[in-house]
């Protein structure tokens, strides 16, 4: 498998899981959180999927394509250990969906992702959906079935309690 193949597989899994998450929360109001804005591609996809929802993006720095940049009110800049509590204080349990696109491929860095669920939980409505490129472990979060196109372990969907 070439790097082109694996990149297509990863992007397709992301798209299919976000589309599945959209179906899981269809008809519900609430904010959508994008943790790891990057170049803004998935943010743009979330915008297309959730036109009536407030979208908030989180990243260490803003380096998204100009077409995919959130306004200042909807962007939390800094380390998630700081920005998630700040967002929770401001927004409360507002989110109906959170998408985590944080995997760096460097294990020592990705280990810190395990510390995020307790920081994220105070932002989630009961029954909110969490989609993630990394596995997450939190009591009360239930792993959901992936779309048929996505192999187990490639992406993760959870329903928060």
């Amino acid at each position: 498998m070439s790097r082109l193949d694996s990149f297509i597989r990863r992007m397709s899994a992301q798209r299919d899981c976000l589309d599945a998450a959209a179906a899981l929360i269809a008809g519900r109001d609430g904010a959508v959180l994008e943790l790891g804005l990057g170049n803004g591609r998935t943010f743009d996809h979330l915008r297309a999927l959730f036109p009536g929802h407030a979208l908030y993006a989180f990243d260490r720095e803003l380096r998204a394509h100009p077409d995919c940049v959130p306004d200042a009110e909807h962007f939390f800049q800094g380390e998630l250990a700081d920005t998630l509590p700040r967002a929770a204080a401001r927004l409360g349990r507002a989110a109906v969906l959170a998408h985590l696109d944080l995997g760096s491929g460097r294990p020592e860095r990705d280990r810190t992702i395990a510390s995020l669920p307790p920081l994220l939980a105070p932002l989630l409505q009961p029954g909110a959906v969490v989609a993630s490129d990394q596995p997450l472990d939190r009591a009360g979060w239930r792993a959901m079935a992936l779309p048929a196109s996505v192999a187990a372990g490639r992406y993760y969907l959870y329903r928060a309690e």
Partner: protein
């Protein structure tokens, strides 16, 4: 192209892969090196390596944006402006390349068109008769015959040419 940035990215990459696979099949019996003009993150370069494990690969770009280990031998890296590096490659590659992939598109369509005009004749001098040139922008090489895209590819524009029997 319609759709959001993620959907467009997937359409572009799937088109690119289908066209590379198609082009590789066209030149499977035609010997000669393979050129990647626009190395970028080396995803398509890596795909060309998988398609052509035995062939010499030549990568052209202004600078390297990918992990160096992807460029291990027998790959050759030619850094600089395409106009200069393609011209300089003629002494070594002239009339020998079986396949050239030009991944040169940017957000500036006018600049892309100008670059395509400048490099098409330079690529032409490197190609073997019967070779295949493909890219994400139209290229007007003398004696190149445009080909249809492989079946099932409709999500993104791509351009494939067969180099005529008489090289320009």
């Amino acid at each position: 192209m319609p759709g959001d940035a993620l959907t467009r990215m997937i359409a572009r990459l799937e088109t690119q892969r289908a066209c590379l696979d198609f082009a590789a099949a066209l030149v499977c019996d035609l010997p000669g090196p393979v050129l990647e003009i626009g190395l970028g993150k080396a995803r398509t370069f890596d795909h060309l390596r998988a398609l052509f494990p035995e062939r010499a690969l030549y990568a052209f770009d202004r600078e390297v944006h990918c992990p160096r280990e992807l460029l291990s031998a027998p790959a050759r890296l030619l850094l600089g402006d395409f106009r200069a590096t393609l011209k300089a490659a003629e002494s070594e590659l002239g009339g020998r390349a079986a396949l050239a992939h030009a991944d040169i598109g940017s957000h500036d369509r006018a600049a892309d068109a100008e670059l395509a005009r400048a490099i098409a004749p330079l690529i032409a001098r490197l190609m073997r008769p019967g070779g295949v040139v493909l890219g994400d922008r139209a290229l007007d090489g003398q004696g190149w015959e445009p080909m249809g895209l492989p079946a099932g590819v409709a999500g993104w524009p791509y351009f494939i040419y067969r180099v005529g029997a008489v090289a320009s």
